[in-house]
């Protein structure tokens, strides 16, 4: 471990620069969407095998959220948009 410095130079990086850091798409638990439907959405949108899609769905159900995809901002926003079209609660966050 080390001690944090008193002052650091913060690089001038655009907060929304898609090349700065990858973004993660987070799906949150909701009490309405069916488990079977959520598995199907993960398989359909992201091409996951059924076992992986089921694992992600159960993670959402038990832990409240799961990261279902990641990448540059534009891709993450598109994934988020497609999840919203399917009625799932999805948000974005930086890695």
């Amino acid at each position: 471990m080390t001690v944090a410095p008193d002052q650091v130079d913060v690089p001038d990086v655009d907060e929304h620069d898609a090349t700065a850091r990858p973004w993660q798409v987070v799906v949150w638990n909701d009490p309405v969407n069916l488990m079977s439907y959520v598995v199907w959405v993960f398989r359909k949108l992201f091409g996951h095998p059924e076992t992986e899609a089921t694992r992600l769905m159960l993670q959402v159900h038990h832990e409240g959220r799961a990261i279902v995809s990641s990448g540059p901002l534009e891709k993450a926003e598109l994934d988020c948009h497609r999840l919203h079209h399917h009625g799932l609660w999805a948000t974005l966050e930086k890695t």
Binding site: P31, V32, N33, L34, S36, W40, E50, E77, H86, G87
Partner: protein, 147 residues
């Protein structure tokens, strides 16, 4: 036959009775009320960053509204008895999902586990929520076979 859907040479056919067909015809009206299901139909991808959220909404524009309108058009035709493609059934399933979100919001459902309590009640909207869930699950079954 797979539950409420029949797989024919002409496509996928909805096989519910006339009364159930009438209930399904009322679903788009439920959605046209302008109810956003307590925000469940208008999620923000950047809930903690208004500037990023505004940029996103400018980028997406009214695409979500357009997609939902197309889904409802497909839903109308399918419920009217037209055989549909897998894409039609996907649209049907999404519209059903939207309706369930609206109903759940109206019923104040906020936590998992509401189904057990729902079985004890006879609220027509709860009954509709459950039946639409049955239809959606059956559609998932058909579409999962096609993935």
């Amino acid at each position: 036959m797979t539950g409420p859907f029949d797989l024919t040479e002409g496509g996928i056919q909805l096989t519910v009775g006339a009364d159930e067909q009438g209930v399904l015809r009322s679903v788009p009206t439920l959605l046209q009320s302008g109810d956003d299901a307590g925000g469940r139909l208008d999620y923000s991808p950047h809930p903690d960053d208004p500037a990023a959220d505004a940029e996103y909404r400018e980028l997406i524009g009214d695409d979500l509204t357009r997609l939902r309108r197309e889904d409802r058009d497909s839903f109308h035709e399918f419920v009217a008895g037209e055989p549909g493609s897998p894409e039609t059934l996907e649209a049907f399933m999404r519209v059903i999902g939207e309706a369930r979100l609206v109903l759940a919001d109206r019923l104040g459902i906020e936590d998992d586990g509401w189904e057990a309590e729902a079985e004890l009640q006879s609220d027509p909207e709860l009954a509709l929520l459950g039946w639409l869930g049955y239809l959606q699950d059956a559609a998932v079954g058909v579409l999962s076979e096609l993935l």
